[in-house]
Amino acid sequence: MPGAVVLVHGGAGKIPKANNDVDNQARLYGVKSAATAAYEALLAGASAVDAAETAVRCLEDFPVFNAGVGSRLNLAGEVEMDAAIMDGRGLRAGAVGAVKNVKNPVSLARKIMDLTPHVLLVGEGASQFAQESGVQLVPMQELITEKSRRALAQVKSLPFGIDPKAEEEEEEHGTVGAAVMDTAGNLATSISTGGISGKHVGRVGDSPIIGGGIYCDNMVGAAVATGQGESIIRTCLANNIIQLMSTGMAPQQAGDSALETMRQRVSGLAGVIVLDRHGNSGICCNTGHMSWAQLKDNELSWGLSAG
């Protein structure tokens, strides 16, 4: 039995121009805290799904990450969030797209997985279900930070509006995620994001697309991505990684290979964390910067670029 493993990331992007040490320290603190909370939960008997949710809830609550509090704003200045969770047992999954006013979208995704016969709810319907399901709702203002406002103002000042590759350019990075193996050997993944600054109202990225930004199958492994959302969707990044692992490829190699394929086909860059069913991990990134933390065999490791 492999034993508990927790892998989290706080988003991939280009190396911040100012190399802002305060923000980097905040990101490292955030991913380490999230990994620790999830790992402790596992050791106390929590399931992989519980721990995956816990890790991303932590990251959503830290304003430094582009998820939950600190989410980037759409063109109308609103927070619309995407999130998903997937249980490696039975391929169960729950996801939300463009949901508003929810403090922890990953928990809403979990409610969808556990309480409905559906996988994905979007927009108004997702917000309505949020009200009925009992997840915590907050006024939009509570999710908006000064950084997010500035990022939107910057996008609006560009002559041609947003650049699809801008997600990599932003000093503040994208999606957060976690990949977890519990003490019983079950896998789970979770993901959450506010999306690109200045995105069209209702734009949904890769995070809630099962097989795009996230996938998890006890029989093979787990993958969670961050980076240029449209590129991840178009090349089915998570699926590719799982498929490569199913042929016996190790997680690190599978992640690196899939990222290179994506770069070649659509010129997109991203980061991804990967686990196979034996608990081996891969931390892969070709954008130059991705905050991450891993807890395994009671050892905590972390970094700001690919491991």
């Binding site: 391929l91 797209g97 994905l120 279900f129």
Partner: protein, 322 residues
């Protein structure tokens, strides 16, 4: 593609359409056969005129959206509040560009709106109210609900009384039930070898507001890559999502498996892992086709130079001169 003497062999344009994969008895109607045949001919007219796979796939799906017999666009099902919410997507195999909408209200041809997302934005998927805002800006009119909703959809909505799961168990598994409904889709290849996949749906009866199935999700309900092939799926949306059916079929084709075997293998995998049925149409870059389903019925039509093949039941295939 090269022939023996070194000259590039001409690519044979072709198109496959499907009108949904379900197991409900009332699905099997002559009207449904006619609807998919008409859609195939609509797409073929464009290919024959040297038109693009993109235009052909869109035309075929528009034809099915406009036909009240099928459950995309006009004739769609209602969500649990009696509203119309439509999903559609289109993907271009040369560039891997795609466009999709989900939960868009009262637009007559969601596939055309999906195409606009692909061509006019840098995004792949726009949902809900945002999709309607985008439609307005593109000059795509919203139509009144009555124009889209059929008598049978209203009847279905009342009968199910909000019980979505009962609906799913009946419609996608081999048991007899009164009504049926599903996604429509098309895959096309033009003379340049460009392949396009397209899907459109009004979703399943009594679904939760905002529920999105497989249709607008790239890699799930559809996929297209000139270097491998094009795929469109239909069936139990949530289960199709879990096994990422379209990209699974695409991956099998990439390994060199024929479209027929790839669709068969992927559908069996889905049945094993999820217990639900579905259907898929696929073409590879050599124009070989795969048309398979694990539900009782899937209305389909395949058209290429000189012939139109179509069917709806297992082991059924009629051929006519096109």
């Amino acid at each position: 593609m090269s022939s023996a003497d070194g000259a590039a062999a001409a690519i044979q344009p072709a198109l496959i359409v499907h009108g949904g994969a379900v197991s409900a008895a009332s699905y099997a109607s002559d009207a449904r056969r006619k609807a998919v045949n008409a859609a195939a001919l609509a797409g073929w007219e464009i290919l024959q005129g040297n038109g693009s796979a993109l235009d052909a796939a869109e035309a075929a799906v528009r034809s099915m959206e406009d036909n009240p017999v099928l459950e995309a666009g006009t004739g769609c099902m209602l969500n649990e509040l009696g509203q119309v919410e439509l999903d559609a997507a289109i993907m271009h195999g040369r560039t891997l560009e795609c466009g999709a909408v989900a939960g868009v209200a009262n637009v007559k041809n969601p596939i055309s709106l999906a195409r606009k997302v692909m061509e006019k934005t840098s995004h792949c998927l726009i949902v809900g109210r945002g999709a309607n805002v985008f439609a307005d800006r593109q000059g795509i009119a919203t139509v009144p609900l009555e124009e889209l909703v059929s008598e049978s959809a209203l009847k279905e909505f009342r009968a199910l009384n909000g019980n979505y799961q009962n609906g799913c168990n009946d419609f996608f598994n081999p048991r007899t039930v009164e009504e049926a409904h599903d996604t429509v889709g098309a895959v096309a290849i033009d003379k340049h070898g460009d392949m396009v996949a397209a899907t459109s749906t009004g979703g399943n009866a009594a679904k939760l507001v905002g529920r999105v199935g497989d249709s607008p999700l790239v890699g799930v309900g559809l996929y297209s890559d000139n270097s491998t092939g094009c795929v469109s799926c239909t069936g139990h949306g949530e289960s199709i999502i879990k096994v990422h059916l379209a990209s699974r079929i695409s991956m099998y084709m990439e390994e060199g498996i024929s479209p027929d075997e790839a669709t068969r293998k992927a559908l069996l995998y889905m049945q094993e892992r999820t217990g639900y049925g579905a259907g898929a149409i696929a073409m590879d870059k050599e124009g070989k086709v795969g048309i398979n389903f694990t539900t009782k019925y899937m209305a389909w039509a395949y058209i290429t130079e000189g012939k139109l093949q179509h069917g709806m039941l297992h082991k059924e295939s009629f051929t006519e001169i096109a």
